[in-house]
Symmetry: C2
Subunit: 121 residues, 2 copies
DNA sequence: CTATCATATGAATACACATTCATATGAACG
DNA sequence: CGTTCATATGAATGTGTATTCATATGATAG
């Protein structure tokens, strides 16, 4: 037997090490949440909650540069959170699927629960 | 009436502007997701899915510095995603509530749906 | 084909933040 | 108390990335 060092958890650690999802999965998951972790992108997603919008409408709404919006829309599209369709010169963006709404709603719930906590203080 | 400029959406933009959640809410929400948007924090959260763990167990499991883990645990705790309890010298961390699990699971679902897409290609 | 409108994109800049290193706190034990 | 173990924390560093600026693409109208 190996001499037990200070505070040995090798057994537990080994077990958990086998159970943890692969690094690829965890990294992908973190990358997904990273997309939601930016105020501009979050505001864009909320803008698209009700209806599709063209790029310049989003830019006006959020009072930001067309370029800034366009860059972020690319990030959102590359990660399949939004999709777009062309109509003449205009390109309309819309939410890609319902997961986007669900993920955001879950986050919202956590927040409101926190407010509950703050009231007590 | 104001002269309609090129591509006028002022009506739609005004309407949406009133409907959008306040900047504080959106910022808080983005900040929440930002927490999940880091591989180390995601791995820590997954480590705690099954059972509570002390800091050095997490550090061993993830093969990272105690300091790095401690810094991230602070972030997680400040945002109420984990909580801790003391037992002598040791401090055990655990998931604060079920929202954490739900949020992560929603993200996971979105990912697996994407894999579906990739298979078709 | 040229001008214009809508959008995309590359490079540069500026800022946020994860990790490291050194050190501090804090509990238990002799 | 002084030492040791477990954890926390402050400052410095390096990396990632959001925005800006300038410019490119791409569609439409004349």
């Amino acid at each position: 037997m190996s001499e037990a060092k200070k505070h040995d958890h090798s057994a537990l650690v080994d077990k958990l090490h086998r159970e943890l999802p692969g690094d690829k999965k965890l990294c992908d998951l973190a990358d997904l949440f990273k997309i939601f972790g930016d105020t501009t992108r979050m505001r864009i997603l909320f803008s698209l909650f009700e209806s599709e919008l063209c790029v310049c409408a989003i830019a006006e709404l959020l009072e930001m540069t067309q370029s800034a919006i366009s860059h972020q829309l690319k990030v959102l599209k590359d990660n399949r959170l939004v999709a777009n369709r062309r109509e003449g010169k205009t390109i309309f963006y819309f939410l890609a699927d319902d997961h986007v709404r669900k993920i955001i709603e879950q986050g919202y719930e956590h927040l409101t629960e926190d407010e509950h906590h703050e009231k007590i203080i």
